[in-house]
Symmetry: C2
Subunit: 213 residues, 2 copies
DNA sequence: TTCAAACTTGAATATCATTCGAAAATTGGG
DNA sequence: CCCAATTTTCGAATGATATTCAAGTTTGAA
């Protein structure tokens, strides 16, 4: 009878599938970071993940879908790294300030991002989706605490996501110097309804380093 | 002999070429607005402009190049429509406020933009390039007049360009209600270093209509 | 009329994303 | 251990289309 061996095999397929799924995201991330989303070919992604080209489509509806998965993966990873640090902060305004500062810095300075910036709406949407829950919570906390005056936290962070990507593109393209990063953070903080002085103060507080991946 | 008719033909080629150039931009704009930049085919664009497919490449290096030209065309047109109105304003802060407000409204409400929003970095870059000179001038004027406190006008407008496109996408996608438009303008004004109260006041001033195209 | 230069043409090419029928694995039951 | 049903993967074939390029046209001056 079936009971003979309760075979823990239940799930072997599922596990292999999950492995392939991860391998595909990792390989797509590598190829896309290296050549850019558009120039990355499904064939190379499949190769590096050691699956057939057609198999990708059993996981992702399309190449764009895959790109979205890759970027959401990247954004969630960063969101968690940030959360690990801000966990211990007392001032809710500082939590938000540290978060956006970290994202701006990461986006402009980590070379892995360079190629991904070109599909800015995909990147900004992934950022909004994955980091939004944290950022919106922080904006609302700081507003409740009387530190910020944000009427619509989702809107404010949506604007921040796109603005960050725009600035990161300009900086990595050499269109603007890296020195704009600080001013960018100040501007983003001003969007929370605080004065420019308060924004400057917040932006210049001690910044503990982000843990490596 | 040649002298017979000094033929004003001098330039017939040039004129035809210029006509073709305009026809191509117009046709590309129509097709791209209708189907989206990616789904627009070079063949259809060439057809509607009444030239052969290959001819496009004597004007534009690539399809992306053409898209950039189309969007810059659109942005310059809007910039001029805005300038026509703000010409008569006295308060330099209001000039900027009216400008960004008009762009946000146009981007979210004119259906011709819908399809173009998807290549947000192309659109935002075109916006920055064509409207930047006006916007940056306005930001600097308002700062000199003591109305704004903008440290880096180009940066502030770069951020605004991307933020506007992000919000426009969210609204046209139905992800956010149209009511966020006003708050979006307020947020953008806050980035200029003024208080939220001042931003609200500026955003709510009488808004003369933008001239039709 | 003639010619070279400048343009245009559109068929041919090259490159992928995506599809799909066949092959291979896996599973549960006998 | 074997089988048939089911699930998953494979990878060659397809289709769509951006881009190239050899050949043909047009132009303006001599």
């Amino acid at each position: 009878m079936q009971t003979v061996s309760p075979r823990k095999t239940e799930g072997r397929v599922a596990r292999r599938r999950a492995r392939n799924h991860e391998a595909l995201i990792a390989s797509a991330r590598a190829v896309m970071a290296e050549k850019g989303i558009d120039s990355a070919t499904m064939a190379e992604i499949a190769d590096r993940a050691d699956v057939a080209a057609g198999t990708i489509y059993s996981f992702f509806r399309s190449k764009d879908d895959l790109a979205v998965a890759v970027l959401e993966n990247l954004m969630l990873e960063l969101a968690i790294r940030i959360e690990t640090v801000t966990n211990t902060f007392d001032d809710p305004a500082q939590v938000y300030a540290y978060g956006i500062g970290s994202v701006v810095r990461e986006a402009t300075q980590d070379t892995h991002w360079r190629q991904l910036l070109y599909r800015s709406e995909v990147l900004a949407n992934a950022m909004f989706k994955q980091m939004g829950p944290f950022a919106i919570r922080d904006l609302e906390n700081a507003t409740k605490a009387g530190r910020f005056k944000v009427a619509d936290a989702a809107l404010t962070f949506k604007m921040a996501s796109y603005a960050i990507v725009g600035v990161a593109l300009a900086v990595t393209e050499g269109e603007m110097p890296e020195t704009v990063i600080d001013e960018c953070v100040v501007n983003l903080l001003c969007m929370t309804g605080i004065s420019r002085e308060d924004a400057l103060e917040l932006a210049h507080r001690h910044r503990p380093p982000l843990a490596a991946v």
